[in-house]
Structure formats: structure tokens, C-alpha cells
């Protein structure tokens, strides 16, 4: 694949077969040298960008054999999706934040606050829709505050840790130290199934659909990603990059609020205790999905698969009767593995690109 010499590329001017194997040829220009640098590089990039999908398919295949016949059933698939749903919503929030360079650690607190305020409202006979709206708006507001404080030059990690304490305290105050049990009014977004699929799965699907379209197709989404990649580049283009950073905090926190509400609906109880484990599960899914913690890079569908991988591992290992703490260990190992892969791919790609850079400039294409 990678062998043909780059200098000899001119011998096959515009080979149609070579061009067809790469991306759709957008430019009708002379497709001379490129085909071979791409084969290797493209393979590596594919591994980096789609590796998580491959990993998931492998996991499913392994468990389908190992945990036969209980794993590969429709019911189990729904079980896995449902188990992944809530952590995926939180992961979406974390991912959007990280992509824009705004890591939000207050997510568990915001989730607890939203769910307790909504629980209080429902318990006190206020309409369910209002409780949900207030819960989500509250999340957005906390994000706004996070963003505005961070803009003043404070370290966002510390700011959001402080906000984690504040929001979980507020949740406990609202709940008066207890929980709000028996919130069966929320069943429609908790345990209810539509077309055989549980409500949280639908909600998660909606969140990721909207999020993906937003990040890849709309002006604000693209700018948000660009701010994460290089705030300076965006600023020099005459855009207020700060606004987008605040916006990322708002999205992050709104997802946290929504996640809190869905959790409440699933367990029919609003609990004021913020579980920090939540943020780590979300971060694991995000990191598995190859979202660079530096920002500017990442895709939501991969994050979704990241959450699904975690759910698949714990589900599969449970079925085969392995102790659940093994699942945690395996997840950790996977995480380090994925980082290693990412590093390796990045260095090999840059090495290959360096090797072909001269040729590329010379031909003026690619």
C-alpha cells in the first residue's frame, strides 16, 4: 500500500482507481503524488477517529461468544442502551465543554440541584412541565455563572469545583436533608417505553442528534469547536471567543440538569447527594472517545459509543459472572490503551506527513 515511491508518482498521472479509493475527489486537478501518503495516513487517522467503533464491535463480538446465549439478545441490547443513556447525557455535556476548552466539574452538583428543585416543585403540586423547565433553566444559569466567573481569569477547574460544592449544598438545603421520593409523575421520561425502547434512550438519542448537528453544521457550533482549538485564531477573525466559552459552560451545565432530571425520573426519587463518580464516568467515556483534553477536537457520536462501551463491558462481565470490580479495572486499562494509541497515531501521522511534505508542495496539490 505505502510502498510506491513518491518521486515516481508522476508515472501514473491521474490514475482513476487510486483517486477513487481516497475521499470523494473534490478537486478535478491532477491527482498525482497523493494516493500513497493517504493510504497509510488515512488508515491511521481512521484508527484514531473510528477506533472506538471498532473497539465496540469487537467487544460485542467477544461477549456474544463468551456470554452466549444471554448477551446477544434484543432485550440485553436495550438494557445496555438504557444503562448507557444517563451517563451518555452527562458525557455529552462534559464533551462539549472540553471541546471548547471549558472543563466543567460542577456537573454532579448541578444534576442534584436540578433534580431536587424539580422534585420539590412536583411534591408541592406544581405542574410537572414547569418543574422540568425550571430544572433545565437552573442548569443553564449555573453554567452561565461558571462561564462568567471563569472569564475573569479564574481557573475554570477551581471555579467549577467551588460550584460543585455550592450547588450540592443548595440541593441539600432545598431537600432539607431528605429526598423527594415517589415522583411517579416523571415515569413518562423514566421507565416508560416507547416502541419498546425506554424513554431515557430516546432522550439521549435526541441530545446527541441535536448536539452533533449543532457542532458540525451550524455556525455557532463550528465556532465553538474552533475556540477550543485555537481561541487566538478565532479572536483574530474578529469574533468574541469569550462568548463561545461561556456558551460551552451553559451547554455543559444544561446537559447536567437534564441528566439529573432523567436520573430522577428513572429512580422516581430526587436525591440531593451529588455523586462525584458521575463526572468520572463521563470523563472516561469522553476520553475513550478520543476527545482531546486540550480542546478543539472530538465528536459526539464517538462519545456516545464511549458511553456504550462502558455499559457493554459492565453488562457483559456481569453476565459471564465476573465480579463487577473487574469491569472498573478493565475500563482503566482501556483508557490508558486508548491514550497510547492516540499518541502513537499522532506521532506516526506527523512522521509520514513530514516525509511527503516536500513532494506535496512540489506538486502543488493535495
Amino acid at each position: 500500500m505505502t510502498s510506491p515511491a513518491q518521486a515516481g508518482g508522476a508515472a501514473t498521472p491521474g490514475t482513476p482507481g487510486a483517486a477513487a479509493s481516497s475521499t470523494p475527489p473534490t478537486t478535478p486537478g491532477p491527482a498525482v503524488a497523493p494516493a500513497k501518503d493517504s493510504a497509510g495516513v488515512r488508515g491511521l487517522i481512521f484508527l484514531r477517529d473510528r477506533g472506538i467503533f471498532v473497539l465496540w464491535v469487537l467487544l460485542i463480538a467477544v461477549f456474544a461468544v463468551w456470554a452466549n446465549p444471554y448477551f446477544a439478545t434484543l432485550n440485553n441490547a436495550i438494557l445496555i442502551a438504557n444503562a448507557a443513556a444517563i451517563s451518555a447525557i452527562f458525557a455529552a455535556g462534559v464533551a462539549v465543554g472540553i471541546i471548547c476548552g471549558a472543563l466543567d466539574l460542577s456537573i454532579p452538583g448541578v444534576a442534584a440541584l436540578s433534580s431536587c428543585v424539580a422534585g420539590w416543585m412536583i411534591t408541592n403540586g406544581l405542574p410537572v412541565w414547569l418543574a422540568l423547565v425550571v430544572g433545565i433553566v437552573l442548569g443553564a444559569l449555573v453554567g452561565l455563572v461558571n462561564g462568567l466567573i471563569s472569564l475573569r481569569g479564574f481557573n475554570p477547574i477551581i471555579v467549577t469545583i467551588a460550584m460543585l460544592s455550592i450547588t450540592s449544598a443548595a440541593a441539600a438545603i432545598v431537600a432539607g436533608g431528605y429526598t423527594f421520593p415517589g415522583l411517579t409523575q416523571l415515569d413518562f421520561m423514566g421507565t416508560q417505553r416507547y416502541l419498546g425502547i425506554p424513554a431515557p434512550v430516546w432522550i439521549t438519542a435526541g441530545v446527541f442528534l441535536v448536539g452533533t448537528v449543532f457542532l458540525t453544521k451550524t455556525r455557532d457550533g463550528i465556532r465553538l469547536m474552533a475556540v477550543g482549538g485555537s481561541a487566538e485564531a478565532v479572536r483574530r477573525s474578529g469574533i468574541h471567543s469569550d462568548r463561545y466559552k461561556v456558551f460551552a459552560f451553559v451547554i455543559s451545565s444544561t446537559c447536567a440538569g437534564l441528566g439529573g432530571l432523567v436520573t430522577t425520573a428513572t429512580v422516581t426519587e430526587a436525591n440531593p447527594s451529588a455523586s462525584p463518580g458521575l463526572i468520572f464516568t463521563a470523563l472516561t467515556a469522553v476520553a475513550l472517545a478520543g476527545v482531546s483534553l486540550v480542546g478543539g477536537r472530538g465528536s459526539l457520536p464517538r462519545v456516545l459509543v464511549g458511553a456504550l462501551v462502558l455499559a457493554t463491558i459492565s453488562n457483559g462481565l456481569t453476565i459471564v459472572g465476573v465480579q463487577p470490580y473487574w469491569a472498573t479495572g478493565v475500563t482503566g486499562a482501556l483508557l490508558i490503551g486508548s491514550l497510547t494509541l492516540e499518541r502513537w497515531v499522532t506521532t506516526s501521522v506527523s512522521r509520514r506527513l513530514m516525509a511527503t511534505a516536500q513532494a506535496s508542495v512540489h506538486t502543488g496539490t493535495r
Binding site: 473534490t26 482549538g229 506527513l353
Partner: protein, 263 residues
Amino acid sequence: MNATTTTTTPALELTGIDMHYGYVRALDSIDFHVGQGEVVGLLGDNGAGKSTLLKIMSGAHRPSAGTVRVHGDEVELHSPSAATHAGIQMVYQDLALVDALDIATNLNIGREILRPGIFGLLGFVDHKAQRKRSEAELDKLGVRTAAMTRPVEMLSGGQRQVVALARSATRVSGEQNGILLLDEPTAALGYEQTQVVQALVRRMADQGIAIVLVTHNLALANAVCDRMVVLNRGRKVADVVTAETDNDHLVGWITGARASMFE
């Protein structure tokens, strides 16, 4: 001045620019101008004041004294965005491209084309139209770097430089031809890539953009500049048409071995 090739109003004109940092006089009554379609090289040793002068032009610094005129109108460049507004674009050495995004997105950020109809109102970007526009713009500049969908991180150094230059060029060549400030555009490039960038700078000038080029590289300056201005210890010591000078004179002025042509 001694060597103006155009008789029209200069695109950018600085008169009597002084710059003090405390007791240090970084610039001493500098007069400088660049016409439309002209490439002016700004040469000098380290600490001669090139960067300071460039920062004044780009709005990053305010001069202690002196006036700046853009197309004949006096302007206050109190911030980089004011300079941008006046039609002055600076290309920094660190390029500032968004690595993970593709070429077309990088070229279009800040001036996106939205899709027509309801999708446009929702803020949906017309990627296809953007790619087309960027292709046309790059063709006009005579550079076809790579497929528009290629992420910037997969480009070579020369290609990145070309993208960064093109981004600035497309931003100043709107209704009125603007001014491009280049800071060592080939410092990080190899021979081959330097040739590409040189050709690009010339073509941008041919399209009427006024270009100020700060460089240490005499070969580059000789190849692309119409005129050269040499600074030495904060003073302008030479302002010559490229064709009427040679390296020995330039080196003399840069090092201070040769007397200023204004004294």
C-alpha cells in the same frame, strides 16, 4: 520621499512616529508608507525597532507621537480590532490556524456563508458554498494547497503558511484593497516552500494589496520587495527601491556600518 513608485495616496502612511518605553526611545520620528500593490520590506537588526513599528501598524501598540493614515484618512489604531476594521491584517509567525478544522472552515471562520431559507435562520452553515468560495479565492491567488476538506493539522509548514496568508488576503481584498503585515513569513520554511510563499506574496501585491514584510532574510526581501526600508536603533536609515541597491549597502545600513542616507 525618495523612491515612491506610485503618485497616488499611499494605502498606509505613518508620519513622525515616536515610541518611548520609559527612557528608551524605540522609534525616533519614523516616516513610512506603502502604496497599493506595493511590497515594502522592513529590515533591521534585532532591536532596531521593526517589530515595534509593525505593532504600531497592527494596533497592538500606540505610538508616543505621530500620525497614521489609511488611504489618506487619519486613523487611531487603538486596538488590533480597530486596525482590522481599517483594513489592516497582520499575519503572525504563529499563524493561528485551527488545527482540527479543515481548510475551508479556517478560511471562512468569522464570515461564514449560511444556507438559504429556514436552515440559514437556524444558523446552518453552507459548507459547499464555503468550499467553493475558498477554492475560487485560492485560485485567484494562484495557490492550490490541498483538498478543501483537509484538516489543517495534516498540512505541511508551507501549506499552512499559504492558508494563513490566504486567510488574511481574503479579508483585506474586499471592497477596498487593504494592507497586509507579514512578520517573517518564511522563517520556518524550507527552500521549496519559501518559493511558493514568495510567489504568493507577489501575486497578492499584483492584486492591489499593500504589503509590509518584516524579515531578516535578505534573499527573500530582494526577491519580493519593491522597496526596502532599513531601521537602525530606532531610526530610519534607508528607504530605497530594490532595483537601485545591493546586498552590501543593505548589510551596511542594517549593521550601522554605512551612514544613514538621511543625514
